[in-house]
């Protein structure tokens, strides 16, 4: 099967390309790049007015399968990913049961093969049962196809376990991802500790809760000379710590989520539980620091932390609602509206944050770029398209988004993982 994408603006930071160029995909790989390519016996798509990127990778999502298929499945989660412009998703191991053995890794791959519409890459647990006590069988998990290790929402509070997993995983070349939260400081907090938590009477989670674990992880990464990836950074303090670590040349990478560069804790004044997530929305100063961190490249990647919850779980008193919001279908639109159109990131930097850097962090050699022979994963974006976020348009099983009703500019219109069209809203559907 051959696919020719014509007349698009090709953005490929690894190959220093930002120009109008055609690209040919054959058997799931990029076979040719160039001006005015002629396609014989292939499907041709005219992408005039659109930008063509190496397929976007959302490196932090929750697909809920196995265990919570009422919230999301691999099928609906990957449909949402395709709609949101992601050719690949990296799913977290907090399933039921958790991904702490090869069997569950294989189950996720099998399910993705039968019902997934984009590439799915499972993350496995750091510790058995995500209990933070005994290290999981890293070698076997890696062999089964796990692409990273994380205990997800359960920060590894035991510093010695974190040290050992960093040391041990480095011989397999598998990155360790940490959700940075000191649970003693978070306590039973439900929002950021700030003037606003004081005002609303809601229990606060201080930003120090995140900063302390970020600092610890950086120190352990230096000590063990191992790669640590810091998930969903939300505080000015953490951005600062990562900046210093990078200046030192340490093996530290980081991601943030769209809600941390678009929202702050004042939004909680409605007590709407769709503004409740971990880490919590921080102050306006923190939000600005995250934006700066993205602009400077201190924060390598944007990941959604897509966390589906069904309506009745969220329609409860604020303290009782689960943490988390969906994000696969709004991430790129928010980044284009609030980073690209506000001239904080250009399209090359957007490609880095959404594709090249996640691919580098996860050692995906054939993703994140459009060299000949690379995987034929493409994300096509109409950067000028105006649209409104609507719950009815979500492919996700869950609708827990704080962005419903938002007006955005720039939208993924065509998603192609492995040379196959997973989502297409181009006029005429060529």
């Amino acid at each position: 099967m051959k696919l020719l994408l014509k007349n698009g603006r090709l953005i490929d930071p690894k190959n220093n390309i930002d120009e109008k160029m055609d690209i040919l995909a054959e058997n799931g790989k990029v076979s040719q790049r160039g001006k005015s390519l002629k396609g014989s016996g292939c499907k041709v798509i005219d992408l005039k007015g659109c930008a063509v990127f190496p397929g976007f990778i959302d490196m932090h999502v929750h697909l809920r399968e196995p265990g919570r298929e009422d919230q999301e499945t691999i099928e609906t989660g990957t449909l949402a990913a395709a709609h949101g412009g992601f050719a690949s998703v990296v799913c977290m191991p907090n399933t039921e049961p958790p991904v702490d053995n090869e069997g569950i890794v294989e189950l996720i791959y099998a399910q993705a093969r039968t019902s997934g519409v984009v590439n799915v890459f499972p993350v496995a647990c750091i510790s058995k049962g995500r209990m933070g006590e005994d290290i999981a069988e890293v070698g076997s998990l890696k062999k089964a196809g796990a692409v990273a290790l994380s205990d997800d929402g359960n920060t590894v509070m035991n510093s010695n376990l974190m040290r050992r997993v960093l040391e041990y995983s480095s011989m397999f070349g598998i990155p360790v991802i940490d959700h940075c939260e000191d649970f003693n400081l978070s306590g039973d907090g439900v929002m950021n500790f700030s003037e606003n938590s004081i005002r609303f009477g809601l229990k606060g989670i201080p930003s120090a809760s995140e900063d302390i674990i970020v600092a610890r992880d950086i120190i352990l990464s230096e000590m063990t000379d191992s790669h640590i990836h810091l998930a969903h950074i939300s505080t000015a303090g953490a951005v600062d710590l990562i900046r210093r670590a990078k200046k030192k040349g340490l093996k530290v990478t980081a991601e943030t989520a769209p809600h941390y560069f678009t929202l702050s804790d004042r939004y909680l004044e409605t007590f709407d539980t769709n503004f409740k997530m971990k880490p919590p929305l921080r102050t306006e100063e923190d939000r600005k620091a995250v934006v700066r961190g993205l602009a400077e490249g201190i924060i390598d990647a944007i990941a959604s932390d897509h966390a589906p919850h069904v309506q009745h779980e969220k329609d409860v008193e604020f303290d009782f609602a689960p943490f988390g919001i969906i994000g696969l279908e709004t991430s790129v639109g928010l980044a284009l509206t609030h980073l690209y159109h506000k001239k904080i990131l250009n399209l090359t930097q957007i490609a880095e944050r959404y594709s090249l850097n996640p691919a580098k962090i996860l050692n995906f050699k054939d993703k994140g770029h459009l060299s000949e022979g690379a995987d034929a994963d493409f994300t096509v974006i109409d950067t000028e398209k105006n649209w409104t976020v609507k719950a009815d348009d979500f492919y996700s099983k869950s609708k827990n988004s704080p962005f419903i009703g938002w007006e955005l500019k720039g939208k993924p219109v065509l998603t192609i993982p492995g040379g196959k069209i997973a989502y297409n809203e181009l006029p005429g559907k060529t």
Partner: protein
């Protein structure tokens, strides 16, 4: 009485009220105060109206006050407590309340441990929602009755200095007082240990002091809050003994207060902890006036929020 027209369906907190709205409730409360001094303490204002009292936290005085206000206004009332309700069987609050609303109730009075719970219900109910306390967020009728009492005793609110002393962090009474008093032009000083009075409160337009003795001789009103023993377990202060020594209002400290100052407490009092018995029962205390006034304020609130509207179900 001013010619202000009340428009709000609910009473959720004092933060969202204007100074005019607060004054209007206080003025209306004056008319209702008189009813409880009559031999026959009943008026037909809420005759044919249904009020549900939904209390998810134990409460004696607030619940009694609301119930008496409802009864003296001739409402039909139903009391639902958390332990006896379907919530213990796993039903959500919204489902419980939608079921109650199906009876076409007119007013829902709710106390709940979680901030924002009354706000959540006000968005789905056509009935009026009166917040009887939502976690550490607001307790508007307590704030109003405190301010009513201050105005009754001092003749005004503007330019008065009011100290609120104690566990401000966990106090809905403090927050409602802060909003109401600052909107009406009083100067509010929060007094307590650094752990229970974080500096973030300054954003609400108040001053903060961690030394009661510095403040006590300078204020017109001292509102003492109840201190809960459980806070000690969370390392917010080392012992009740030390707390009482630093922030208690006892015979030693009461000597320093202005001769025309008043001492308040929302109750229930821990005698000997935040306040000594002799101070609670002493000449500066207006604690029982607060209780009497609470009834009038709650009657006024019911009168205003129902304002001739029909009982309705879910929006």
């Amino acid at each position: 009485m001013n010619k202000f027209v009340w428009k709000k369906k609910d009473l959720l907190g004092l933060e969202e009220l204007s100074a005019d709205e607060i004054l209007h409730i206080l003025d209306t409360s004056k008319s209702f105060y008189e009813i409880s001094t009559r031999a026959i303490k009943k008026v037909p204002v809420l005759r044919g109206k249904t009020v549900v009292n939904l209390f998810f936290e134990p409460s004696t005085r607030t619940k009694t006050s609301f119930e008496l206000a409802e009864k003296r206004m001739s409402a039909d009332i139903v009391n639902v407590s958390a332990s006896g309700s379907s919530l213990t069987k796993g039903e959500t609050l919204i489902d419980t309340v939608k079921n109650l609303a199906a009876y076409k109730i007119d007013i829902l009075v709710m106390r709940h441990s979680v901030p924002g719970s009354a706000h959540m219900l006000s968005k789905i109910l056509e009935a009026s929602v009166v917040n009887a306390g939502d976690g550490a967020h607001e307790h508007p009728t307590q704030g109003l009755l405190d301010i009513f009492t201050i105005r009754q005793k001092k003749g005004r609110i503007e330019n008065l200095k009011v100290a609120i002393v104690g566990d401000i962090l966990h106090s809905r009474v403090a927050r409602s007082n802060i909003w109401g008093l600052t909107k009406l032009g009083a100067e509010v000083i929060l007094v307590g240990p650094t752990t229970l009075v974080p500096k973030h409160f300054e954003a609400m337009g108040v001053k903060i002091s961690h030394n009661f003795d510095d403040v006590i001789g300078d204020v017109d009103v001292i509102n003492m809050l109840r201190i809960q023993k459980e806070r000690q377990k969370k390392n917010l202060f080392p012992s009740l003994r030390e707390y009482s020594d630093l922030f208690g209002l006892d015979e030693r400290r009461i000597k320093k207060i202005k001769k025309d100052a008043i001492v308040m407490h929302p109750g229930p009092i821990n005698r000997g902890v935040e306040m000594s018995a002799s101070v609670a029962d002493g000449p500066f205390s207006v604690i029982l006036d607060q209780v009497t006034n609470g009834l009038a304020v709650r009657m006024a609130v019911f009168f205003l929020v129902t304002g001739g509207r029909k009982g309705k179900g879910v929006m």
